[in-house]
Amino acid sequence: MAELSYLQAISDGLRQEMRRDKRVFVLGEDVGVYGGAFKVTLGFQEEFGPWRVIDMPLSETAILAGATGSALMGMRPVAEMQFADFVSCGWDHLVTVAAKQRWRAGTPVPFVLRLPSGGGFSGGPFHSQNPESSFAHIPGLKCVCPATPEDAKGLIIASIEDPNPVLFFEHKHLYRRIKGEVPEERYVTPIGKARLHAAGDDVSVITWGAMVYTAEEAAKLVDASVEILDLRSVMPWDRDAVLESVRKTSKVLVLHEDTRTGGFGAEIAATIAEEAFEHLDAPVRRLAAPDSPVPFSPVLEKAFIPQVDDVVAALKELIEY
C-alpha cells in the first residue's frame, strides 16, 4: 500500500473510475489545463482529453445544470466547485431538479458534486464554510464527508457508483496535511456507515471531517477513555453506530465545524434524546462554530472554529458531570 495524502487519494479514486467507466467525466472551473483549484485533477486532461475533463465558464449554475442534464442522459458527471461556498449559485438545480427528479419522474440523477469545504487558513466568509447541513436537509441528496485518505478514495468511488446526486465534501484543511495508507486497487467504502476512529468507554465524540483530528488531539489531553466516531457521511448517517456508542458510554459530545444552530449536530443530538434517553448519564453536549460567518482574522477564525482546547473543556465537563 502506498502512503497518500487525502488529496491524492481523491485524485486516485477519481482517476481509477474514469479509467474503468467511460461515462465518468469531470467538469468545473479550471479543472482541465490548470488541474483544478487544488490540483485534484492535475494531469487528468492529458490522460482523458478535453471532452472528459471540461473547463467550464465561471458559472456554478452552468456547471450544476450541465452535471444534472448529463446525469439524466445516463452519464456519470463529477462536477467540481472551486470552493463549497459557491454551490449556492447552483441551489435551484441541486434542490429543485436533481434532488427531486427521481421521485418526480423516476429518472436517476447519478452525479457527484465535489465541494472543497472547511476553514482553518484565513479564507474568510466565502471560502471556509461547511454547508453540509443545508443539503442534508434536502431529501434526495446525499452528503459525504470523509476524514481519512483511505475513506476519501473509497467514498469518491462509492459516490460515483451511487445512483443519486451525491455531495462530496472534501475538507481543504486535510488535503495535504493528512496522509495515510491507501490500497492501490479499487474498493468501495459504503455511504452511511460510520468508522470507529478510536474506541473508548467513558465518553463518545460524534463528529466528521477535520474535527475527527481535533477530537483525537483533545482525547490525548483528558484523563478518560474517549470514543471517537467518524460519521463519514451525514446523509445518510449511521444512527445505529451513534446509538451503540451512546449506549456504551452514556455521555456524548457532538462536534462539528459548521455553525451551531440547525447544524447537523442538532439532528444527531435530537435523535440521541429520542432513541437513547434511558442510556444518558449527562446532557448531550454540542460543540460547533458560533452562529456567524467565518471571520478572516486568524485570531478570530481560531476563536470561531472549535479548537482542541474547546473540545478538552467540553470533554472534561462531561467526564466530571
Partner: protein, 443 residues
Amino acid sequence: MASTTGLEVVMPQMGVSVSEGTITRWLKRVGDPVAADETLLEISTDKVDTEVPSPGSGVVTEILVQEGETVAVGTLLARIGAEGAAAEREPEPEPEPGPAAAQPEPAAPAPEPERAPAPAAAAAGNGKAFVSPVVARIAAEHGIDPAQVPGTGTGGRVTKKDIQAYIEQGAPAAPAAPAAPAAPASAAAPPPPAAPAAPLRPAGEGETIEPMSAMRRGIADHMRRSLDTSAHVTSAIEVDLSRLVTIREKLKKEYGAAYGVNPTYLAFVARATVETLRDYPYVNGELRGDQIVTRNYVNLGFAVELAEGRGLIVPVVKNAETLNLLGMARGIADVARRARDKQLTPDDVAGGTFTITNPGGYGTFHGTPVISQPQAAILGTYAIVKRPWVITDDNGADAIAIRSIMNVTLTYDHRLIDGALAGRFLRDLRERLESWGESDYQA
C-alpha cells in the same frame, strides 16, 4: 391570618425517596370551613403516616382525591376557597400560603430510614437529587433506590459508574421482576414496585380484595429486601427477671408520681441493651458494601404497631446511649405516642442503628424477627412468664422456685456477626438484667 382565596392543597413530599402517598381520611368535607393549620386530612406514605394541615383558612371547595386513593407527591388534593362567598375577588392568593405550606414539615431531604449513608446531595434546594436517565433505568432494573448509592458526580450526583460499582460490590438488590421497560419515571423516585409478572387473578368466591396501602407496600418491600440481604440467624436466651420485676414495681410508683412516666419493661431492657451494645460494636454496626461500620452512639429503633393492624413503624430514639432509665422511658413513650397519632416526621424513623421489637404483650414466648436494614441485628423481647425454675442457693443446693422468666432473642446478620459473638452478647445482657440494681438503670 386573613381568609384567603384559591388555596391549593397538594400531596406533600415526606422525605427524599417518598414519591406517593395514600389518602387515609378526609377530616373535612366540601363546604366545611377550615382554619389555617387545622388538620384537613390524613395521609399514609411508605415511611410515615401523618396529618396534613390546611395551608390557610377558608372553605373546602373541592376534594379531588378520595380516601384510599394513592397519588404522586405534588398531586392536587383539594382546593380551599374564601369564607362566605367569592364576593371579594382578590387577584392573587397571598404569597405565603403557597402549596408548600401544605407540608407539615419543611420537607427536609431526610435520609432513608433503612440505610444510614447520606443520600446523594440534593440538587438546587428542591429536595430532590437529580437522577440521570441511565441511572434511573439501571436502578429500576436492579430494584435499587438511587438515593442509597454514594455519588461522585457534580454535587454528589450518582453517576452511571457509581451505580454500576454499587451493584458490582453487591448492592442489597431485590432481583427485579421482569421489570416493565423502565419508563424514565420521575427522576428522584424510587423504583416502582415490581409489577406482578402474571395478570392478577380477580377475587374468587368468598374472597375480598383491598388495595395495599403505601405503608404496607413499603413494609413488604423492606421485609423482602432484608431477607434477601442479611443472613438471618436467631439465638435465644432465658432471663430471670424476678429482680427486675421488684425494681419496676417500686420505680413505677415513684416515676408516676414524680414525672408522670411509666417505666415499662421495655425501657429497662432498652437501658441494659444500650449498655451491652457498648461492648459489642458489630451488633450496633452495619455492613456498608464491603466495609464494616461501627459507631460511638446508639440510635435505638422501637417497632410500634399502629392501630387496627394498619402496619408497623419503627421510630428511633436518637443517642440512646445518653439516656438513663427515665430518659429512655420518656423517649420510648414519646415516639410511640407520636407513631400512633401520626405525628412522626421522616427524621423520626431515620438513622436507627439497632432495633428492639416487643411482641411479648400478646403472650408469645419466642419469635424470629426480621432485621431493619441496614442494621446488623434486632432484639426480640417476649412475654414474662412465671415458671418453675431451678435455682442454686447460697449453700450450693439446687431447688425449684417460681421465677419471672422472659425469653430474649437476638436475630443477627450472620455475615457480620458470628454465633459466638451473639451468644456472648445475650449472655452479658442477661447478666445485666438479672444482676442490675435500681441505681444501675438510673445511672
